[in-house]
């Protein structure tokens, strides 16, 4: 048992840390956020140059061959800077799914392009009526000529508005909630039959509602067998979200601590008031829990499916629960300043709370955990 980062992991951490520190001050981030695209393509190119876009991929494609801990290190750093670029959408959710399912030539083409920063992707998995259930897929794909055509609607597709290509989950067999019969496809975002309604999200990211109307699509891997790979990619996504939340919670705690040390009322810093001290301690305790569960999640990806599922559900649930407390207390202890758009902490709070709405919220993951309550890890 050893919680220390390896030398390579530490280097990765330093790379991301430096990038965020130097390249991502609040005003620069705000400029990118309020741009039409909602993030910076220059920054994306920097990610590529630093090798960050290759973290989870094989060295064959110029990648880093990283697993859970490596993605954790990257996402935690991104969380500290509230990074806006579509790393989760492109690299983690779409990229790894292509990596798990794609043919050698698909990988050769697409993964290399991802690693090189030449293409941005989005995973179109969830649907308007399906909430957080990734098996709720009513969208269908049918063979047509060499390829397929897809029909259906996809909901709140993270960075779906600016993606060059979409990885779409569609049904080639079975009915709406079946685990079997799901397939993954690559769809060109500019193709006929793809219509997108893009919008900003409350936490400053972008997403899109996507309608597919006989949209031409290229199958990834085998037909009907995408579920295991999809769940592996979503698991990576959950690790990344937990880590991002931990990073953001850390900064929210730091900002709040600094604020109560500096803000004077009644002639003393408000951090001298014991009631606020104890609440600050409780915030930090929530942060420690979030960090612990992020590590647990990051180190559980290679375990058996039920053990992995149980730990990830618990991790994401803790993030939802602890994140809410940290976000709300960060605002409250900042007083009126915490309500202001010009105060960085309000953006941290928004991102932390919205992470609970991505890839399953507290309620969803507690239900998963409840269904696995009797699982004995030692036996599994």
């Amino acid at each position: 048992m050893d919680f220390k980062l390896s030398d390579e992991q530490r280097m990765l951490e330093e790379t991301v840390g430096r990038l965020v520190r130097d390249g991502y001050p609040f005003d620069v981030r705000e400029k990118a956020r309020t741009s039409e695209l909602g993030y910076s393509t220059e920054m994306w190119q920097q990610f590529a140059e630093l090798g960050l876009l290759g973290v989870p991929f094989s060295e064959d494609f110029g990648g880093f061959n990283g697993g859970g801990p490596e993605l954790m290190v990257v996402a935690e750093g991104f969380g500290r800077g509230l990074v806006l670029e579509p790393y989760l959408a492109t690299v983690i959710l779409s990229g790894t799914l292509i990596d798990f399912l794609g043919s050698d030539s698909q990988k050769e083409t697409l993964i290399s392009a991802i690693v090189g920063g030449e293409v941005r992707l989005a995973l179109a998995a969830y649907e308007p009526e399906g909430r957080y259930d990734h098996t709720h897929v009513a969208t269908t794909a049918e063979k047509s000529g060499d390829g397929y055509v897809i029909n259906g609607s996809k909901a709140v597709v993270l960075h779906g508005d600016s993606a060059d290509k979409l990885v779409v989950i569609a049904r080639t067999a079975g009915s709406t909630n079946d685990r079997n019969g799901l397939s993954a496809f690559v769809v060109d975002a500019s193709a006929d039959g793809v219509s997108r309604r893009g919008y900003e999200t409350i936490d400053g990211l972008h997403a899109a509602e996507i309608s597919l109307n006989n949209a031409p699509a290229e199958l990834l891997g085998e037909e009907g067998n995408a579920i295991d790979a999809l769940e592996k990619s979503l698991a990576l996504g959950i690790v990344a979200l937990c880590a991002e939340a931990s990073g953001a919670m850390e900064v929210a705690c730091d900002h709040t601590l600094n604020y109560i040390k500096e803000r004077q009322q009644f002639g003393v810093p408000i951090g001298k008031f014991q009631a606020l001290q104890h609440r600050m301690v409780e915030m930090r305790m929530e942060l420690e829990k979030a960090r612990s569960m992020t590590i647990l999640a990051a180190c559980s990806l290679e375990l058996s499916a039920p053990v992995r599922a149980k730990r990830l559900a618990a991790a994401k649930a803790i993030i939802g629960k602890s994140g809410r407390k940290v976000a709300e207390e960060a605002i409250q202890l900042h007083g009126g300043m915490g309500m202001m758009e010009e105060t960085a902490v309000s953006h941290y709070a928004k991102r932390i709370v919205m992470i609970d709405h991505q890839l399953g919220d507290l309620g969803y993951h507690m239900q998963q955990l409840e269904s696995l309550l009797d699982l004995d890890e030692d036996a599994a």
Binding site: Y126, P128, E129, R131, Y132, D133, A155, V156, N177, R197, Y199, E200, T201, I202, D203, L205, A207, E209, Q264, Q265, F266, G267, I270, A275, L276, R324, E328, I331, Q332, G335, G336, G338, M339, M340, E341, E342, T343, S346, H347, A349, K350, V353, M354, H357, Q358, D361, L362, G363, M366, Q367
Partner: protein
């Protein structure tokens, strides 16, 4: 002991309901219920309707045009207004500065200011908080120096709600820099058109422009705009802050929100069933429901004590804390009900004239802005921490 309304009280409630049925513009109520933006004109339109009926000034004595209502009547009126989706009457004129003028002002001041407040012809805002003086209100630094027949005001106020629309502002200013903290403060009325005043918008985390900073740079204010005595403004300030606030518990708002939440949760589907049938969601709804019943009864106890002639004091701090926490909890449940659709942020959909397509279920468009906006409830109007300090001191003697 009887917790039910008397026949007279029920008759009064019917009268209020009839009025609201007839006079509350449907399009305004619809905006309130859909969390759409209310314009200044909506608020003024409604307030003028109230004034026509003589129901604008709940807390004024009858002689000045107030309703002369009992605490229970005020409570009934506010409950029903919330239930019907009437816009909140802006408190800055009618419920804040006016009572101070009535209590401490000259006859001349009463004649000058009260009628236009009653008829909503003048929009008031509040100049209390300063960047360095929030919870510690008496730490304010904005100063007014007497020069002949006017004061010269310099300084800055902040968190000035809806100051962007305001014609007048009432301000606490320091008139004696050498006096101890709470002494040497005066209460001034200032025309926002006076040269030297700048209003800078503050955008809140939900993207809204509700509050402002107001800067005073050599602003000349006639001495007749002083309310009460010079250097005795703290008396006015305290009077205003502790002024009876029957609505502080927000029971009506929470009831309306909970009702809406139940409707929504009955429609949203999860795993092929309405969300309201999800055991955990239902449990949290039940928890809110029972907390709301407790809040309502606690509020009624306070109202009844006021009716019996008691002076509501620090008890209203309990109501502030319980009421705001509950309203915030309901916004949390709304965002959970929206699921992934809590994320989209489309400010254009908050406008009543928006006729485009929505993203996700209709109710979802405002859940997150509301959730974040409502964080203010526990901060502004005396933060909940300050309320606890008040209770600890005034009720518990700690």
């Amino acid at each position: 002991m009887d917790i039910n309304y008397t026949p007279e009280e029920l008759a009064f409630r019917d009268e209020v309901r009839a009025f609201l049925d007839e006079k509350l513009p449907k399009e305004i109520a619809s905006k309130v219920k859909k969390n759409q933006h209310l314009g200044k004109e909506d608020t003024i339109r409604w307030q003028k309707i109230l004034n026509e009926k003589g129901w604008m000034a709940l807390h004024w004595p009858k002689e000045h045009g107030g309703t002369g209502w009992s605490p229970i009547q005020k409570h009934i009126f506010e409950e029903e207004c919330a239930e019907y989706g009437a816009p909140t009457v802006l408190p800055f004129g009618v419920n804040m500065v006016a009572p101070v003028i009535i209590k401490f002002g000259t006859e001349e001041q009463k004649k000058t200011y009260l009628p236009s407040i009653l008829n909503s012809d003048v929009w008031w805002c509040q100049g209390y908080s300063e960047p360095g003086a929030g919870s510690d209100l008496a730490g304010l630094k904005t100063k007014a120096v007497r020069e002949g027949d006017h004061y010269v005001v310099n300084g800055q106020k902040t968190w000035t709600t809806l100051g962007q629309h305001a014609d007048w502002i009432f301000c606490l200013v320091r008139t004696d820099p050498n006096a101890k903290k709470q002494e040497g403060i005066s209460f001034l009325l200032i025309d926002m058109q006076t040269p030297g005043i700048t209003v800078r918008p503050l955008i809140t985390l939900d993207g809204e422009h509700e509050v402002n900073e107001v800067f005073f740079d050599d602003v000349k204010v006639p001495v007749e705009n002083l309310v009460g005595e010079e250097n005795k403004g703290w008396t006015c300030a305290k009077y205003l802050l502790t002024f009876e606030r029957t609505g502080i518990a927000g029971v009506g708002q929470s009831k309306a929100a909970l009702k809406h939440l139940k409707e929504v949760a009955g429609k949203v589907q999860q795993n092929g069933k309405p969300l309201i049938e999800d055991p955990l969601f239902r449990n949290r709804l039940a928890d809110v429901e029972m907390e709301l019943m407790a809040l309502e009864m606690t509020n009624l106890r306070t109202v009844a004590a006021a009716q019996a002639g008691g002076v509501p004091g620090a008890e209203s701090s309990f109501l502030k804390i319980m009421g705001t926490e509950l309203r915030q909890e309901i916004t949390d449940l709304f965002r959970r009900a929206a699921g992934p659709y809590a994320q989209p942020f489309l400010p254009e959909t908050f406008e009543a004239d928006y006729d485009g397509e929505m993203v996700g279920p209709d109710f979802a468009n405002s859940v997150s802005t509301k959730y974040f906006n409502m964080r203010k409830l526990s901060i502004f109007g005396g933060s909940n921490e300050i309320q606890k300090n008040i209770i600890a001191k005034m009720i518990l003697g700690l």
